[in-house]
């Protein structure tokens, strides 16, 4: 089985308290915040690795990101991926989900035949949850999102469960396909020191736009139909009225107000 996992390097959320909005440029200052694999992409990789453990084959990871994302791809290799490809070029900069999905799909096409492409359902930074479906559209293969279980049956089609409101659906689907997964699907494996040392021997390639077959107008900012007008921090409601006294007095005051408003 040949699986390709899309991975996005994101600023580690443990350090988000250091994120700041530059009041002049209205952009996010994320200097010095270490990068890591987007959390759900670890679940995507875990799915790929466990399918390989069971059915054989190979797991490739692909990312579109600036050159320093190599360290994050090394994490994926240490988890067990066989090979990593970084799609990196100034021409890709500023891409929205459509432009990103276009480049990723071009990278995937260059890698050749696959049974499965797996993504995390969404990222913790942008959180749009759009890339997997758009990659599938560019590749012209079926896709399912919000996936919580995959059952590879001996028959030609697989059974895939995906989450819906208050429940789930199970569908029968034939590879090749694109799936994007939710956290519930599995528990990503830990990386040992041995794994890290092994990963250093694995191959990482960087492909630029000249390595791919791409239509220039679909790249980067120009290829992005959406445009961020500005960023802002949600308004605070202002400080609350603080009830006075010890616990019993505060409780009595609250109960009294709730009673007057008809809540009890």
């Amino acid at each position: 089985m040949r699986t390709i996992v899309c991975i996005k390097p994101v600023p580690d959320s443990k350090h988000w308290n250091r994120l700041a909005l530059d009041p002049k440029t209205k952009t996010l200052v994320r200097k010095g915040i270490p990068g890591t694999i987007n959390p759900l992409d670890r679940n995507a990789l875990e799915l790929a690795l466990s399918l390989r453990d069971e059915h054989g084959g190979e797991v490739l990871v692909v990312s579109m990101a600036p050159p320093d994302a190599i360290s994050v791809l090394n994490e994926a290799l240490a988890m067990g991926a066989d090979r990593a490809i970084l799609l990196s070029d100034m021409a890709f900069a500023g891409g929205d989900t459509l432009a990103t999905a276009y480049v990723l799909s071009a990278g995937i096409e260059k890698l050749g035949q696959f049974d499965l492409v797996v993504c995390g359902d969404q990222t913790i930074d942008g959180g749009t949850a759009q890339v997997s479906a758009q990659v599938a559209e560019f590749l012209d293969v079926p896709n399912l999102m919000h996936v919580t279980a995959v059952d590879v049956t001996p028959a030609a089609s697989w059974l895939v469960r995906s989450h819906i409101e208050h429940g789930y659906v199970v569908v029968e689907i034939k590879p090749p396909m694109v799936l994007s997964v939710l956290k519930e699907i599995n528990e990503p494996r830990y990386v040992t020191l041995m794994n890290i040392l092994e990963a250093e021997k694995k191959e990482t390639q960087i492909w630029s736009s000249s390595d791919l077959e791409l239509k220039e107008p679909w790249l980067g900012l120009n290829g992005s139909p959406t445009c961020m007008v500005d960023l802002f921090v949600p308004e605070k409601k202002g400080r609350a009225e603080i009830l006075q006294g010890g616990p019993r007095e505060q409780a009595a005051e609250l109960a009294d107000r709730l009673h007057r408003s008809g809540f009890c």
Binding site: S13, W16, L19, L28, D96, T97, L98, I124, D125, G127, T128, A129, Q130, A133, Q134, A136, E137, F138, P142, N143, M145, L159, V160, I164, E165, H166, G167, Y168, V169, V170, V171, E172, I173, S224, P225, T226, C227, V229, L231, F232, V233, P234, K237, R239, A240, I242, L243, G246, P247, R248, Q250, A251, A252, L254, A255, R257, L258, S261, F263, C264
Partner: protein, 334 residues
């Protein structure tokens, strides 16, 4: 598709097995407001099979037009078939704006459709505005809701957006005045790229979180599963639903479906009482315009105090029992 339609704002009305998702109607209410400001009519778009009674229902929410794509092949949701139908309708009638709910279905359908149409999509919007020129500005949360972005789609049409359930209120039903237009569906079995074999749905419990008037929510500060009973007892005397932040769900004190916030439910109660909750945006974005937000927290500098109306500073294990006792005294007095 020869018929002329006038609506430039379309709202996808999601249904599964004949059951409509409320978010579609919520968006209709907002769409009507946006439509007024640019003098456009509003259409609801239904895709599925045997849609006659559903389309009547949609008309009773004040839409000008309801577009109905009715075909047995569309009985179960399959994104590529639905994308094909919507792509054909959009190409024929060229709406300016297309809105969908940010549900499991909407977040799956919208990106594929937007990619097929090579147009922009803003995801999980929590507000929508129109500029004087009729350009849609969507407010979308990023970084877990810590930062909001205003996103536009200046060059391509339609402007597509998915809207979080619960951010707009449900409009009142009115007298139906709009018309039904049937959408030609050139669907073949080969367009169905996956087959649904099972749909499992738990009934949303009556008096569940999303519809509750009063919600008592507990956070990590509650400390143990044993002490979670403080939250449940307070909820009981207030006839409230119980909500939670992520840590209690991760710890198993509360269930997944009780989580409020970005990765949980959006609620719009009249009264919210947060106990042992620090006030991360991840949690607070799930809270829509309650009349009264009360927070009980031991830390006088807790961020939630910047987002609530009434603050009780102290140990919840002392405050909550006293509160329960006092509330009980009111109910027994009645």
């Amino acid at each position: 598709m020869t018929e002329i339609i006038e609506s430039k704002i379309w709202v996808f009305i999601e249904q599964r097995q004949g059951r409509m998702a409320e978010v579609g109607l919520e968006i209709l209410g907002k769409a009507a407001e946006l439509g007024l400001s640019i003098g456009s009519k509003v259409a609801g778009v239904l895709v599925g099979s045997s849609l006659a009674s559903l389309s009547d229902q949609v008309l009773s929410y004040g839409v000008d037009e309801v577009l109905v794509a009715d075909n047995p092949l569309l009985t179960d949701y399959c994104n590529q078939a639905y994308v094909k139908v919507l792509e054909q309708a959009v190409s024929a009638w060229q709406p300016e704006i297309l809105l969908l709910g940010a549900t499991a279905m909407g977040t799956d359908l919208a990106p594929r459709l937007a990619a097929r149409l090579r147009t922009g999509l803003s995801a999980h919007c929590i507000d929508l505005h129109l500029t004087a020129e009729g350009e849609l500005l969507s407010v979308v949360p990023g970084w877990g809701g810590n930062v909001m972005a205003r996103v536009s789609c200046p060059r391509t049409r339609p402007q597509v957006a998915t809207v979080m359930p619960g951010v707009f209120s449900l409009p009142d039903a009115t007298e139906a005045r709009g018309r039904k237009i049937s959408v030609e569906t050139l669907i073949e079995p080969a367009d169905i790229t996956y087959r649904t074999v099972e749909v499992k749905r738990e009934e949303a419990p009556k008096g569940g979180l999303e519809t509750a008037e009063v919600v008592v929510a507990g956070g990590w500060g509650v400390g143990t599963k044993a002490d979670w009973r403080y939250i449940e007892e307070l909820a009981l005397v207030l006839n409230a639903a119980v909500g939670a932040t992520r840590p209690p769900v991760d710890e198993g004190w509360a269930e997944e479906k009780q989580m409020i916030g970005q990765s949980g439910r959006t609620i719009r109660p009249r009264l919210y009482i947060g106990v042992g909750i620090s006030g991360h945006m991840h949690h607070l974005v799930g809270l829509k315009d309650p009349e009264l937000i009360v927070a009980i927290n031991g830390d006088p500098n807790a961020a939630i105090f910047d987002h609530c109306h009434l603050a009780l500073v102290g140990d919840f294990k002392e405050i909550v029992p006293a509160l329960i006792e006092k509330i009980k005294s009111y109910s027994s007095a009645q």
